[in-house]
Each structure stands twice: as C-alpha cells, then as structure tokens.
C-alpha cells in the first residue's frame, strides 16, 4: 500500500516536471513571439531591397547584408562540403579501429567544443594577418569552415552509417572496388542525410557571429569582391543594436533571421524523416 505522503510527493514531483516543460516552451514562445511581433511590421519590400545607409539612426534596409550572407555561405560550403564528406567517408568506411582513428575522433570532438571567438582569434591571426586576406568575406568564410567542420563530419558520418551493410556487401560481391562501392552505392543512398548535414551547417552559419565579428570587418556596403569586408544578417543585428538607435530595424532583421531558422528547422526535420523512412523501406 502506498502511504499518503508518497502519493503527495508523486503529485508534487510531476507538477515540477511538467512545470519545467511548460517554462521551456514559454521561454521559446516569448522570445520568438516578441521578435516577430516587434519585427514583422518593419519588414516590407523596401526594407528587403535597399542597402543599410549607416549612421546613428540606422536608416535603410538589409540588401547588402543578405548578399554578404549568401557570398559567405557559398564560399564556406564550397570548401566545407568536400572536406567534410571526405573526412566522414574516411571515418565510416576506411578508418581502422586504432590509436590514429581515436586521435582523429578526439580532435573532432575537441574542435566541436571550442568557442566561436577562439576560432575568430585564429582566423584573425592566420587569414586576416599572416595570409593578408585582411578583414574580408574570404577570411570570414575560411574561419567558418574550421568552425563548422566537426558538425559537417559527424552528421555526414551518421548518414553514411545509416546505410545498411547489405548494400556494401552486395556491391563488393559484384566485383566493384571499394571506391566504386562508396561512390555509386553508399554516397547516393546517403544523399538525403548529407543534404540534412549541409542545411544544418547553413543554419549555423547564418546564426554565427563572434568568429565573423573579428574577421569580416563589418562593412555595410554592398560587397563587390570576396576580398572586401562585409556583414552578415546576424552581424547587422549586433551593429544596429549596439551602435544605432534603430531598435525597430534590429528587431525587423532579427525577425528575418527567426523566419529563416524556423524554415531551416522544418526542412531538416522533413528530410530526416524521409531519409529514415526510405532506408527502412528498402532494407
């Protein structure tokens, strides 16, 4: 028989546990709701298609920051995706279970835990100063590649590992080389998972600020080359909030960011669901 106090503690504890969930959900609703409520009225065609004019009043829109963000993501992906996939293929298909592999895994884990600003310091020392790319979109992108590499590798590796072993065995039994098996069977089967990894990295690139703040220069002008400075949407929010009085513009830019992040999250969930269904369906 349960005594009354055990029942009461049970009730109290469950209330606490549910309370935790409710508070977390409320925090999210308050943050997103507040930003959208304050920001959405400021978003219109003119805001999206004019450049920021600078100054204390923060006049203008966000066009050049959108362009800078796209340039930055473009160059980052060109480098990140091949290296990330290569590294994941090595770990999932080739790496023997030995000390070297453990060192590589330790390196990836450690890199994943290093704060953005340390990557920024590194990018500032190597790309901005030693290689004299100066404060530029290129310096920012190279720094971002270093920062996102662990995410890209681990997510891609998971996608490769999810491909059933029977696929690999069937291919090898047909007399393919190991690389033919990887390039024609494993990688194509893992494409939805790899796409999810890329989208995840794009999401993180859009939200990243600290490492870019110290490598990209932050010019609000429309970038005409990759060796020029620029500012991403996220950096623009920071500059508006800290250096101008235009809180309405900062909120509108933040609302744009929130909308992009919500879309990206929905897309990754959709893709991840499809991928799992497909693998289950075949094997």
């Amino acid at each position: 028989m349960l005594n009354v106090s055990a029942k009461q503690t049970q009730k109290l504890a469950m209330a606490g546990i549910w309370g935790g969930g409710v508070i977390t959900l409320l925090l999210l609703i308050v943050i997103i709701g507040y930003v959208l409520l304050q920001g959405l009225p400021g978003i219109n065609w003119e805001f999206l298609t004019t450049n920021p004019k600078g100054g204390l009043s923060g006049e203008g829109g966000i066009l050049s920051t959108v362009v800078s963000t796209l340039y930055l993501i473009g160059i980052t992906l060109v480098l990140l995706v091949p290296i990330g996939i290569g590294s994941a293929v090595y770990l999932s298909e080739y790496a023997p279970n030995n000390r070297l592999t453990r060192i590589i895994r330790y390196g990836i884990e450690t890199l994943a835990g290093i704060p953005s600003i340390i990557f920024g310091l590194f990018g500032y020392a190597l790309f901005v100063t030693v290689l004299s790319f100066n404060f530029s979109i290129l310096s920012g992108a190279l720094t971002l590649v270093c920062l996102l590499l662990p995410t890209m590798i681990t997510t891609t590796e998971e996608a490769l590992k999810a491909v059933s072993y029977s696929y690999r065995e069937a291919a090898l039994a047909l007399g393919t080389t190991k690389w033919q098996m990887i390039s024609r069977i494993v990688l194509p089967s893992a494409i939805p998972g790899i796409v999810t990894a890329v989208i995840l990295c794009i999401g993180r690139a859009i939200g990243e600020t600290a490492c870019l703040y110290v490598t990209m220069g932050g010019s609000a002008a429309m970038p005409s080359s990759l060796l020029e400075g620029g500012r991403t949407l996220s950096l623009h929010v920071f500059y508006l909030a800290m250096e101008t009085n235009a809180m309405d513009k900062a909120m509108a830019t933040a609302a744009v960011l929130i909308i992009i992040i919500i879309l990206i999250n929905a897309l990754t969930n959709l893709l991840a669901g499809r991928f799992q269904k497909r693998l289950k369906g075949i094997s």
Binding site: L2, Q10, M14, Y34, L91, S116, A210, V237
Partner: protein, 288 residues
C-alpha cells in the same frame, strides 16, 4: 587498371581529409599560443591572471575581473538551467505522452537554432529594463545569466534525455514491480543510473556558457571594473577579446590572445571532465 588507380587515389584523398580537423585543432593551439606567449612573458603569468586592472592605455593587463565575470555568469546561469533542464529531460524521456513530446522536442531544437545575437537583442530590449527596476543599470551579471540560461538549456536537455533513454527498461520495470510510484522510480532508480550522462550534459552546458560571446557583450555592460554583486556590470573573457582585438597592437594584442589561451584552457578542462562522465556512463550501462 584505371579503376584500381582511382581506388588507391580516392583512398589517399579521403585519408588526408580525415586529418583536416586534427590539423586545424593543432593550428589553432599553435597560433593562439604563439601570439599569446609574448604577453605572458612580458606581463608575467601571475600578474596577468590575478591582476585586477585592465587598462591597455597605461600598459596594465590583468584579467582577474573578467575571469570572475565569466565564472559568475556560468555558475548563476547553471543554477537556473540545471533544474529546469533536468525536469524537461525527465518529461521528454519518461513522463510525457508522444503528443507532448512532438511539440516540446522541436521547440528545444528551435532554441538551439536561434542566433546568439537574437538572444542578446531580446535580453537588451526586454530584460535589461526589468532588471534595472531591481537595481543598477540593468546591464549586469544577472541579466547575462538569465540570457545564458535559455541558451544552454537545449544542451542540458538533449544530453540528459539521451542518457535517461539509454537506461534499460528492466530498471524501470523492476522498480515499478516493487510498488514504487513513478516519481520514486525516477528519483531512486532512473536519475542515479543516468547521473553520469546528466553530469556530462551540465559540464558541456558550462562549456557553451563560458564560450558565449555576442549575447554577453549585448547585456553585461562590458565594464572593466571588478563586479561586487549580481546587479553590477562586468565583462567576460570572450567579450574582452571580441571588443578589443580589431584595434589592438603590440602587447595589448598579445594580451588578448593570452586571454584566449586562458579561455582555451577552461574549455579543455570542461571537455575532459565531460568525457570522463560520458565514459563512466557508458561503462555503467554496459555492466547493468
């Protein structure tokens, strides 16, 4: 013949890209140390770490107040985030029906995705005025800690939830069969069995907290004075680097890299503790 050549070539290329992460890690350590060492030797390690005054204008470089600032926001945010995060993890892993889970889990994922400047902006516009009603300017350790609490919640929730889920069903069934209530099962069996994983989640959350930069700059006030209360403005190690690196030269620049070295050491320590926790967790589960 060519397909065997391609096979070999592919193997080497893939092998090399496998090493990129390690090479980057070594380069980061190398560059930050190389740039930071002159400051350590000119200022002295002790004076740098325990020095109270940061005034680049008169060549005074002591980062104690920023170490205190970073540790203070980390601890205060953890005091709020740990109970909330563990409650949420228990709810997701043990209590909530799948309908609730399907709402709460994407919500937690969304919290991860929100850019840190957006947290900073909401903190600046919404929270700073509220805290200033309690006292001070509103730009304070307390404000920064509240913002950080929300930012580290997802880390604590997801790692704790994973470790609770990894506990074999037989544990629960055993406890319930002995007549324990759900809560007695959770408190007496589940949480003790998952404590290593939860510990790892908390420590990794601390790593995220101590490394956060932009949101901190936006709400903590960035004062170089030594903070005496939670309502005082302060500056974090990360904020110190970000605010000054772009115009610093000479010893000042080197001192900022040295600040990075100190931050780096903090992170490595926290990561090793987390690794120990995770290893212990997986060993315990293998035995169970």
């Amino acid at each position: 013949m060519t397909r065997y050549f391609t096979d070999k070539l592919a193997k080497y290329i893939v092998f090399i890209s496998g090493f990129t992460a390690v090479v980057i890690l070594l380069l980061i350590a190398l560059f930050i140390l190389r740039e930071g060492l002159p400051a350590f030797s000119e200022i002295g390690v002790f004076d740098f770490i325990f020095g109270n005054v940061w005034r680049p204008g008169i060549d005074q470089y002591g980062i104690l107040s920023m170490i205190v600032g970073s540790i203070a926001v980390t601890i205060v945010s953890m005091i709020m985030a740990v109970p909330l995060g563990i409650a949420c993890a228990i709810l997701l892993a043990e209590v909530a029906p799948s309908k609730v889970r399907n709402i709460l889990r994407p919500a937690v994922e969304l919290l991860v995705g929100i850019p840190s400047v957006v947290y900073g902006l909401v903190g600046l516009v919404l929270l700073v005025p509220i805290v200033s009603n309690i006292g001070g300017s509103g730009f304070s350790i307390l404000t920064a800690s509240i913002v950080l609490m929300v930012m580290v919640l997802p880390t604590i929730i997801s790692i704790s939830e994973d470790s609770i889920r990894a506990i074999p069903a037989s544990y629960r069934e055993g406890a319930l069969a002995l007549g324990a209530t759900k809560w007695q099962t959770i408190k007496g069996v589940i949480l003790p069995a998952a404590k290593s994983g939860i510990g790892a989640g908390v420590v990794l959350g601390m790593g995220r907290a101590i490394g956060e930069t932009m949101a901190m700059i936006m709400v903590i006030g960035n004062s170089i004075a030594f903070p005496n209360s939670l309502l005082d403005a302060a500056r974090t190690l990360t904020g110190n680097i970000a605010l000054e690196i772009n115009y610093a030269t000479g010893t000042h620049e080197s001192a900022l890299f040295a600040t990075g070295v100190v931050l780096f050491v903090f992170i490595l320590l926290l990561n090793s503790v987390a690794t120990v926790f995770l290893k212990r967790g997986s060993n315990a589960q293998r035995l169970g």
